[in-house]
Amino acid sequence: MVNLQQILSFIFISLFLFPGPGRGQNSEKADKLFEEEQVQGITLGVNLEGPIGLFFDTDRSAFSAVTHINLSPGWYFRGEAGFENLVFSDENVEERNFRYESNGSFVKAGLLYDFFSVDEVGNNDNIFVGLNYGFAFQEHRSGGYTIENDYWGDFHDSESAYLMNTHWLEVSAGPRTELFKNFYMGWTVNLKVKILQDNARELQPYSVPGFGNGDNTVNVGFSYVLEYMIPWKK
């Protein structure tokens, strides 16, 4: 896993790629201007984390849709829903001594705070920090596994399909920029902490949709979102 210090350094450096001071350093006049100029609306977009991840792990297919709703100046609701299907390729089965399949979906909802503002009319860029709650349910099975025993002989069995679910909290941070009129690109680094998992049997999920590595209690993830905003108020 990437060193957390490297990630934090990267975020810190990236924040400087945006021009202008933070909201806290602005005058009241600038704040008022910001509020007047900020466009309110709902966005619909896609998270490219899943499709890009397919280049590195062909066993997994994932997709999710994202929305941001501007609740009030500086505050946003963020929602995400998606799915992840995973089937071990023959190569992975051989390497790991077990077959594995999982089909699942997830939803995430949370609040983001935008602490970026600039005295520039029409600049709708953001730097978000937020807290999300995530829930995933998945059906998974092991079509066959082998426990090796060089002396008495290997043991073979399988685990039938069953449903399980996972809950987690996610702290996210990252910028979003308006590339074209109402069309945004943004990315966040997400620190995910598993808080509850209802798993009735022995098999642990290889991957939890939306959360990542099923072995870990804490995962670091990334989202890269392209979205279009439907404005309702300016």
Binding site: M1, V2, I147, W152, G174, Y206
Partner: protein
């Protein structure tokens, strides 16, 4: 500036989602063997003992686990298909003992890289007494990743 932000984000994303970033876990092998230490039956306190020409073979098996070796501890692999594994321990053609280990087992999932293993709980050990004086269970659990000696074999 905005393009730079996007590119830097893509670079970070590649770093985070690349499988190379997640170190593959090293999986341990032969984690289903009972570890037996040899002790002298003549000593009043536990005193390590070493046996010459030790042979160990599973009952009804053609391959030996040890063949005429000098040993102070033995690793006896348990049979997954049974709740008893029986071995013949010998130091010569005539001096031999039969050792039966009775156990229960439980399936455990170790990790996504290493898959399943069995964890064993030793219940009883039955034995003959040609070279073995007595046997005691010191630590009844045979578990993946643990290397604690499970049984004490007191040898004449």
């Amino acid at each position: 500036m905005k393009l730079l932000t996007g590119l830097s984000a893509l670079c970070l994303m590649v770093l985070l989602v690349s499988p190379g970033c997640e170190g593959e876990e090293a999986c341990l092998s032969n984690q289903h063997a009972v570890q037996a230490r040899l002790y002298s039956a003549w000593s009043t306190s536990d005193k390590d003992s070493t046996l010459e020409n030790v042979s160990l073979i599973g009952i009804d098996m053609s391959d030996s686990i040890y063949r005429e070796q000098r040993l102070s501890e033995l690793f006896m692999p348990l049979n997954f298909e049974s709740d008893t594994s029986t071995f013949v321990l010998g130091v010569s053609e005539t001096l031999k003992d039969t050792l039966s280990i009775v156990y229960s087992k439980e399936l455990d999932f170790i990790s996504r890289d290493c898959g399943y293993v069995f964890t064993f709980d030793l219940d009883t050990i039955l034995y003959s007494r040609s070279i073995i004086d007595s046997v005691s269970i010191a630590y009844p659990t045979v578990k993946y990743g643990e290397s604690t000696a499970n049984i004490k074999l007191y040898i004449y």
